[in-house]
Amino acid sequence: MTPLRRLLILTVAVLLCAGAGTAMVLHAASRAADRARPRAGGPAVTAGTVTLGQHGQLDFLSQTPGPHLDAIVSVPAADAPADPGTARTASDVSCLRFYAAAGTGVCLQSAPGALTQTNRALILDARLHTLRSFPLAGTPSRARVSPSGHLAAWTVFVGGESYGAAFFSTRTSILDTRTWQLTPSLETFAITLDGHGYRAADTNFWGVSFAADDDTFYATLGTGGRTYLVRGSLSRRTVTTLVQNVECPSLSPDGTRIAFKKRVLPGAALWHEYVLDLGTLQETPLAEHRSVDDQATWLDNSTVAYSLPSNGSVSGSDLWTVPADGTGTPHLLLPGAFSPAPQ
């Protein structure tokens, strides 16, 4: 083959690739634009004012295709279980993860920057104004606010790539919104594992849930291929393991039980939702038989809400509820919704 012919083949291939690449990007862009267009059939979402901390209201992130995709929206909770089509009021704040309590919101955002993804945590007041913004080291995963609204916690996935060595770990931070004192990583806390002091380089914390005293919290500790439920104290900077195979704990409003996801098969991404009684350490499987990969939220002392991927869709998710005592059947609470925060 002559050099000229080779160059010609390469030029044709480059042009073909450029064409195919452009087509794919344009297709994805038009799909993204399409998602942002209002669509008939889904739940009605109208722009308006969302105010956090209004008793009885349920705030969440809209996953419905339309201009308010990923925005913080609210429904009057009294109507929500009865009618999934209840009109939703949308704010102009959008997040990847969200939670709110007592008028304090935490919104984790992620946007593509020039060289890397730019991730940040926004602390919102009741009118969704940003009080403070904190840069994040990785992709947002979980967010929680204490019942008093004083503490906020978030978990991000930190990834790194370095000449063929990828690693993923989690980093969990806790913020006191009264003093703005930030605990950047729970990994600096003293760990008591099965009654003994424990240190390891591979410790990961994720999925914080706060108790009502603004000091006690629950979280997942992952180390040595195992996961543990830990109870921690923010003031003493300690965590103590309680039981194994617990991820993404969520404390009930009365503080007596933990809803959590339990890995069904070691190594497989399959989880079943359980409730643990903190008094007896007895576990009760809930009536949801699908795999739940979410940090559940208690709507009240007897109902647990969680998200599942929407049917037939890779992105998008719906909110489901199930009784917390293992009885009953799952119930679709809100289609096209994520990150619920009962007020």
Binding site: M1, R6, I9, L10, A13, V14, C17, A20, G21, M24, V25, H27, A28, A29, R31, A32, R35, S110, P112, A114, L115, T116, Q117, T118, N119, R120, P135, L136, A137, G138, T139, P140, S141, F157, V158, G159, G160, E161, S162, Y163, G164, A165, A166, F167, F168, S169, T170, R199, A200, A201, D202, N204, G222, G225, A268, A269, D293, V314, S315, S317
Partner: protein, 421 residues
């Protein structure tokens, strides 16, 4: 000097340093073509790597934590596959074919990413991608060495590594450009990545000769029949290769993995959260800038000197991380030293290996060193993690620094120039 001893075994005719015409051809088109292949392939794979965590979490709603566990396994497999790739290339006497298979396999994985929607299949696709990387490394480096005369190999490998790293820098930039144009367009990122990877394979097929015209003339031993496993194993009897393999492995045992370096940088120096994802870029930029000058320097002053100096740079980076002087320049300094370490060692080592391995076993020899080094670094990661667990990050790093100092001293003695003949 010892490493660049011109009278390579296996009967390679020593190359006399050249005339003007030869000097113009010191970096042959083959090296440039292979550099272009690596650049294009790295753009493709780094595009995927850059968006993968976000794709898993935001696109698929999965938790990427499980990957960390598998990563060690993949690295081990990739290291062993490298040995296989090297031996197969020598055996088939077709380095281009085996390298092409490796590049092709990785390219095939990119469209497969679009079909994998859960952790299991995704893990399998990424493992396959790593296998491709393992297969191609040794035959590609062998091609670079076979198409360059001994006294210019440091520079040739430097050119290749610089182009390779440029791709690693450009990849994430293109991926985030696409994501900005199309929100949630992970499929577009993977699709474009697949196209780019296919272009890389095409450049290899079109512009890399299957039998590089070695500057040393006809290839010795070409008529001596097939390379078998026994002959490949006989490489271990070459004292100079043994010395190199031993030193590369020893030094690998005390080379803390990049992931740990960045974690240490953040923990001990307090680099802001938002900068954490950019730390590898710092290393890459320095590597990119210095790979060619340091490779050329290695050709001039000797590979041993530059290789050892690179490790001294790494040692200095460890020392700075231990000392943590209160200066704003510290993270830049550590990253600069880290990048310099790569620039002074990553291409210089294969250049040195090529000098002592006969042509017909070149890929096997390069694979042997590469595998030893990779497995040693893997062991270092395990040991470093355990030491961190037991004693904390400071003592673990101090241990690694002392280990590196000792190993570098041993390497300095073992690799010292042979007495003049």
């Amino acid at each position: 000097m010892y490493l660049a001893d011109r009278s390579a075994p296996g009967g390679t005719t020593p190359v006399t340093t050249g005339t003007g015409a030869r000097a113009a051809r010191v970096i042959g088109t083959t090296v440039i073509a292979l550099g272009a292949v690596s650049l294009i392939t790295d753009v493709s794979s780094e595009m995927v790597t850059a968006v993968l965590p976000l794709y898993l979490v935001a696109g698929l709603g999965l938790s990427p934590l499980g990957f960390g566990v598998l990563d060690g396994v993949y690295n081990g497999v990739s290291a062993l596959v490298q040995l296989l790739g090297g031996h197969l290339a020598d055996r088939a006497r077709n380095h281009k074919l085996v390298a092409g298979l490796g590049y092709g396999l990785s390219a095939l994985c990119k469209p497969l990413l679009l079909l994998a929607h859960s952790l299991g299949p995704l893990g399998a696709v990424l493992a396959l991608d790593r296998t491709g990387k393992g297969l191609r490394t040794a035959p590609r480096d062998a091609l670079i060495s076979l198409s360059t005369s001994a006294e210019h190999r440091g520079r040739a490998f430097g050119v290749h590594r610089a182009m390779d790293t440029a791709g690693a820098v450009l990849g994430p930039v293109s991926a985030f450009l696409i994501l900005r144009a199309a929100t949630g367009g992970y499929d577009a990122v993977f699709g474009v990545s697949a196209c780019v990877a296919a272009l890389g394979v095409l450049v290899l097929v079109l512009f890399v000769p299957s039998r590089p015209r070695g500057p040393a003339g006809p290839r010795p031993g070409a008529a001596r029949g097939r390379v078998d496993l026994r002959e490949a194993l006989s490489l271990l009897r070459l004292p100079r290769l043994r010395a190199l393999a031993g030193c590369a492995t020893l030094l690998g045992l005390t080379t803390v993995s990049d992931a740990f370096v960045y974690l240490l940088l953040q923990r001990r120096v307090g680099v802001g959260e938002q900068w954490f994802p950019l730390l590898p870029l710092g290393t890459a930029v320095m590597f990119l800038l210095l790979a060619v000058p340091l490779g050329a320097l290695a050709d001039r002053v000797g590979r041993r000197a530059v290789f050892l100096a690179g490790h001294v740079g790494l040692l200095t980076a460890y020392a700075l991380l231990l000392w943590t002087p209160a200066t704003l320049a510290l993270p830049y300094l550590v990253l600069a030293l880290h990048g310099t370490f790569y620039a002074a060692t990553d291409g210089v080592l294969p250049a040195a290996v090529a000098d002592v391995v006969p042509e017909r076993l070149r890929a096997s020899g390069l694979a042997l060193i590469g595998t030893g080094q990779a497995l040693a670094r893997f062991c270092c990661s395990l040991a470093f993690g355990a030491a961190w667990t037991a004693w904390g990050d400071g003592p673990a790093l101090a241990g690694a620094a002392i280990g590196l100092l000792c190993c570098a001293a041993v390497a300095g003695v073992v690799l010292r120039p042979a007495p003049a003949r």
